[in-house]
């Protein structure tokens, strides 16, 4: 026991006998190394977003690629309306009807959301006072926070009977129902991006126009909208991206019918809803399972292109 203490003591003495300069140098070395490690970690996290985007493409493609090598026609996949993935005699995977479903719901939603979203953006940015503006932005943020499954539930429990009563149609789960929900869901993003775009127009533009005697409305439609049109377009595109990718609300509210709709009162099924509804039943590795992953790749590509063009419109034009 005593010996132990003695050796410990001598070790401590030998450590303290080291020159202070050496200790400082060692500490600096340790710090330099740990800082370098940390910087690498930060860099890694920085590029992680790129890794994840590629990872998403890679892993989704990996699960679905098996189907492409078999008896698979891309032309039939894209241009046939026959989606019979579980048929015993003749399995057919044509996504045209699903694409039509997505397109019809998205377009109808945008017909409602674009005027309201941009109108509200103009009101928030140009027509109201500071206090109103702050509280409106809070409401918009809360509206954006409502989970899509709650929207879907609202579609089933509130909109469904409402649409039946107002339009005297037998089923309320249809294109119109889904589109109304999607409109409410994509308006917030349009308002916030659209407001940013209007805010980016220099105040001197407004002042110059006002000095010439223009009213605020004239300033908006003669000066601001033309000046901010790229930003406003990007706002619309991001709204479209949101609507195309939305899953739960359209799964619950559009009714399950794989067909090309002829009116807004027809039930449809979108690409997203198809994956959500059928993936649970398809066994891992089966052709049905693989084709759902291919539908996923199709969706990924559509939203990628939409988001990319929104980004290019905003940034590319600002540079040029």
């Amino acid at each position: 026991m005593k010996q132990e203490v003695a050796t410990l003591g001598s070790a401590a003495r030998s450590r303290t006998s080291e020159a202070p300069a050496q200790i400082a140098a060692r500490r600096r070395r340790v710090e330099a190394v740990s800082e370098r490690v940390l910087e690498w970690l930060i860099r890694l996290c920085g590029v992680s977003a790129i890794l994840f985007v590629f990872g998403i493409f890679f892993f989704v493609f990996r699960e679905g690629v098996g189907l492409l090598f078999g008896d698979f026609s891309l032309r039939k996949f894209l241009f046939s309306t026959e989606w019979y993935p579980t048929s015993h005699s003749n399995v057919r995977y044509g996504v045209l009807a699903l694409l039509a479903g997505t397109a019809s719901v998205t377009v109808t939603a945008m017909l409602i959301a674009v005027p309201f979203g941009l109108g509200a953006a103009i009101f928030v940015s140009e027509f109201c006072g500071k206090r109103t503006k702050e509280s409106l932005k809070v409401v918009i943020e809360l509206l954006a926070a409502i989970p899509s499954v709650v929207w879907g539930f609202i579609g089933i429990s509130v909109m469904n009977p409402l649409i039946q009563d107002v339009f005297h149609v037998p089923v309320g789960l249809n294109v119109l129902n889904g589109a109304l929900l999607l409109a409410l869901m994509s308006v917030p993003i349009m308002v916030s991006i659209g407001e940013d775009a209007l805010k980016a127009v220099p105040d001197s533009f407004r002042e110059a126009a006002t000095a010439l005697g223009a009213t605020r409305w004239q300033v908006v439609y003669k000066v601001l909208v033309p000046a901010a049109k790229n930003g406003l377009l990007a706002a619309v595109l991001l709204g479209v991206g949101r609507a195309v990718g939305e899953t739960m609300a359209v799964l619950m509210a559009t009714g399950h019918a794989v067909n090309i709709p002829h009116s807004v009162f027809d039930p449809v099924r979108t690409l997203t809803a198809t994956i959500a509804a059928e993936l649970g039943e398809a066994s891992v590795g089966s052709p049905h399972y693989q084709v759902l992953f291919l539908v996923g790749i199709l969706l990924f590509s559509i939203t990628f292109v939409v988001n990319l063009s929104a980004d290019l419109i905003v940034k590319g034009v600002r540079k040029g």
């Binding site: 800082e35 940390l38 910087e39 930060i42 996290c45 920085g46 590029v47 992680s48 977003a49 790129i50 994840f52 985007v53 990872g55 998403i56 892993f59 989704v60 309201f116 109108g119 509200a120 009101f123 027509f127 109201c128 409401v139 918009i140 809360l142 509206l143 926070a145 409502i146 989970p147 899509s148 499954v149 709650v150 539930f153 429990s157 409410l184 308006v187 308002v191 009213t215 605020r216 409305w217 004239q218 991001l238 991206g241 990718g245 899953t247 739960m248 619950m252 994956i275 959500a276 993936l279 649970g280 891992v284 996923g296 969706l299 990924f300 939203t303 990628f304 988001n307 990319l308 980004d311």
Partner: protein, 294 residues
Amino acid sequence: MFTTTPLIRKKQRNELIAKCVFGGMALAMIVPLIVIVTYLVVRAAPLLSWEFLTTNPSGGMRHGGIWSALLGTVYLVTVSLLIAAPVGVLAAVYLNEYARESLFTRIINLAVVNLAGVPSIVHALFGLGAFVLFAGIGRSILAASLTLAIMTLPVIVASTKEALAAVPVSFREACWNVGATRWQTIRGIVLPNSISGILTGVILQVSRTAGETAPIMFTGAVFFKKIEEGDPFAYSIWDQCMALSMHLFTITTQVTEAPKALPYATAVVLLGAVLSVNASAIALRSYLRSRKKW
């Protein structure tokens, strides 16, 4: 002094019309929010109680409460937060403090934007392919949380970047001038001065995660699972779990003859959790903006 000419009157009228139309459009967003929330709360009122939160669903999910779903959501949110927060904050630190303006950073920013735009169901496919099958984690809370973490990463990156950018450059310059390294500056000056803004982003991520359904449907959430009532450690991260969002979907679409108020009550709990978390983030942010030192 001025007489109102017809032209001025016309201008005033147009101005008024424009203001009313745009104001009406803005109003058209508020009204549904209030009407819907009120309607849901009124319909849910008979069932809402402490017992509803703390008992398991029973009788084919036609009776009982939402305990196992509520706890599952808490687990999913916590685990995904533990994954997404460090990665997201460090990514934002890289983008704001280290990276120079270049094509590469532009690509990273583009990737962040696109990650936010990837449909939630595609995230689900990715989670199934990458975590459940490829990494061999299996359907579990961990796999579902990883999927959710990647999905909500852009929320944290965007708000952290904003918080970091709000710290004046002169703070950093002062710190560099006394000989601090880049990391010392970040740790000593930049992060302490932006921590509250970062926190806001983290809270927003929590509210987003709690409401997501599609990404967890195939990666770890199940229709029904019975757990010990009142035990907060009833799940392990390798278990599958129930989740509030998934539970709402199930009892709305799959369960027939459920009492009318049951789905409403579930929806109100989910909505209440998400909106209150979100509102607290907004309150925190506006409080911080009001007492900013510089």
